[in-house]
């Protein structure tokens, strides 16, 4: 049972556009297995379909061709069984609910009892270190704190798989690094399988067990890199030699298949220092 992959993608294509319009092939021939408890990052230039791939795994959109099996069942069945926790780039918290009630939302929809909701929300918010902010409203929190609430909410009904779509893309680099450590800590404690879309190379390497490198037009998997950095990882990990080697390996894989280069500037191809400067602007 445990050898069975949590996610199995076979021959997945995604074509956008109707019959009468020019078509765009967003994804072509995607084969990927994700094992239980893995942390897998999807990285690639914009337009490589990495977010689309995540949305296909989560059954927010369906593939044109190919098979998506999650937990041994079709993706739609998995979604109906509530096997997914989703975190988007925007926190998507509801203004009218307190932090606590936002985290309770998926449990309410699931039909969980009041006591369990109460307890789960508290546990999850303590996990993301927001135990003191239960009664606050979203507008009273910073961007990073809001995203932590979103993570707590995604974990609320113990999903088999956590799908994260550039969750820290809108945060500055300092906050992003702090959130990265936070996510790793949460992942290590919960043992959830994570699929993580990013366009930051340092982020992908720091977090992942495997980095899936994609190319654009059509979106294909060009390389899968095993990240053998020891765990638990910490800020010191970012200064090890192996870390830099892996960052370089991912960067070269991206460059080799990056196409004509028109998308390269959208990627954090530069060293972590440069991305930090970029983050400070945003």
């Amino acid at each position: 049972m445990n050898d069975q992959p949590v996610v199995r993608l076979t021959g997945v294509d995604k074509v956008f556009g109707r019959a009468d319009a020019p078509k765009t092939t967003a994804l072509e021939g995607i084969d990927l297995d994700i094992r239980r408890g893995e942390f897998v990052s999807l990285i690639g230039p914009s337009g490589c379909g990495k977010s689309t791939l995540l949305r296909i795994i989560g059954d927010l959109t369906s593939p044109t061709r190919g098979d998506v099996v999650v937990n041994g069942k079709p993706a739609e069945r998995a979604r109906r069984d509530r096997d997914y926790g989703m975190v988007f780039q925007a926190p998507v918290l509801f203004d009218w609910r307190t932090v606590e009630d936002n985290v309770k939302l998926p449990l309410e929809i699931q039909g969980a009892g009041g006591a369990r909701r109460e307890q789960r929300a508290k546990e999850m918010l303590e996990l993301v270190e927001l135990g003191d902010f239960l009664k606050h409203y979203p507008y009273q929190l910073s961007g990073g704190m809001q995203q932590r609430v979103a993570i707590a909410r995604a974990l609320a009904f113990e999903p088999a798989i956590l799908l994260m779509d550039e969750p820290f893309g809108a945060l500055d680099e300092m906050t992003r690094e702090r959130m990265n450590s936070e996510v790793l800590r949460i992942w290590e404690r919960t043992g959830t399988t994570v699929v993580f879309v990013t366009h930051s190379i340092p982020e992908a390497v720091f977090l992942s067990s495997r980095v899936v490198v994609m190319s654009a037009r059509p979106g294909r998997i060009t390389k899968v890199i095993d990240v053998d950095l020891p765990r638990p990882r910490s800020d010191d990990t970012r200064e090890t030699r192996r870390y830099f080697e892996l960052v370089t390996e991912v960067r070269e894989a991206l460059r080799r298949h990056g196409g004509t280069g028109d998308d390269d500037d959208e990627l954090s191809l530069a060293s972590p220092d440069r991305t930090m400067a970029e983050g400070a602007v945003g």
Partner: protein, 291 residues
């Protein structure tokens, strides 16, 4: 929008929930409120004094432009009784406006839910609503009197209701439909039913839109009721008093009636603002933070 954790400390607690704010910060807020309104109050008072003095100074005919003091005197003299009894008239007009607001709001919300639920209804009704919004609906007042009885308050209520209906319908529809796409994806990932999405996302999302329409509607319903009254009906209503006192050249009474109508409108509006703050503390306080 992005803020650091550091500036959280600088933000206020939950302003609308009263008890949380300490008594010292509450005193500070009163002072700030006072400072905010003080210029308007001063300008208003100065305007009244200037009006009073100017009317005497340039020897204006008082029946054209009565002094504020004369208006207040007329208000007192005609407060409870007589041909121009103001208080019962204002009460009658308020009942018409309230009735109209209730009818128009219920109808507007009902149609909004239908248009939000069925795309085909939206396609058919929204262009009509937009077109209807461009019509000077007030022109229908004589017809309303004809349809619902010139002496019945219902004819005035229906005039008010028609004015209230369109903004309520258009706003609430927008609130139900214009939901953040991310929120819908999130609900989809929870395998939530349409009914759940309506209750947990669309309705709360529409609340601010609803209150915006309601504030507009409060003013519109008074306009509808008073204009409806202009075209005839029971005599102890503000609209009739305005028409009849003016034709009797009792302009001090006319002004007193207008003053009372203005006061009613402002009170009506403030009531809805207060209701809004109770129903959506998260939203009212948000706007408070921006001002």
């Amino acid at each position: 929008m992005t803020t650091t954790a550091g500036d959280l400390a600088g933000r206020r607690g939950l302003p609308a929930s009263g008890g949380r704010a300490g008594s010292s910060s509450r005193g500070g807020r009163w002072l700030r409120t006072l400072r905010y309104y003080l210029p308007s109050v001063v300008v208003f008072a100065a305007g009244i004094v200037a009006w009073e003095l100017l009317v005497g100074l340039i020897n204006l005919q008082t029946f054209i432009f009565p002094k504020p003091s004369a208006i207040v005197a007329a208000l007192q003299a005609n407060w409870g009784g007589g041909r121009f009894a103001l208080l019962p008239s204002a009460q009658a007009t308020l009942v018409e406006a309230l009735g109209g607001l209730a009818i128009g709001t219920v109808a507007g919300v009902a149609v909004a839910f239908a248009t939000a639920r069925w795309v085909s209804a939206r396609a058919a009704l929204l262009p009509l609503a937009v077109a209807a919004n461009a019509i000077p609906i007030i022109a229908f007042a004589p017809l309303m009197n004809n349809w619902f009885g010139v002496l019945s308050p219902l004819s005035k209520m229906m005039m008010a209701a028609t004015l209230v209906f369109f903004p309520v319908m258009a706003n609430v529809t927008r609130g139900l439909v214009q939901v953040e796409p991310g929120a819908l994806e999130l609900m989809r990932s929870y395998a939530a039913s349409e009914w759940t999405i309506l209750r947990k996302v669309r309705v709360p999302n529409a609340l601010p839109f609803f209150f915006t329409a309601l504030k507009l509607g409060a003013t519109l319903s008074l306009i509808g009721a008073i204009v409806g009254e202009y075209f005839g009906g029971a005599s102890l209503v503000l609209g009739r008093i305005i028409v009849q006192s003016a034709s009797a050249l009792r302009f001090d009474v006319t002004w007193a009636a207008i003053l009372l109508g203005a006061g009613t409108g402002i009170a009506f509006y403030l009531l809805i603002v207060a209701l809004e703050r109770v129903v959506m503390p998260w939203h009212a306080s948000l706007r408070g933070g921006e001002s």
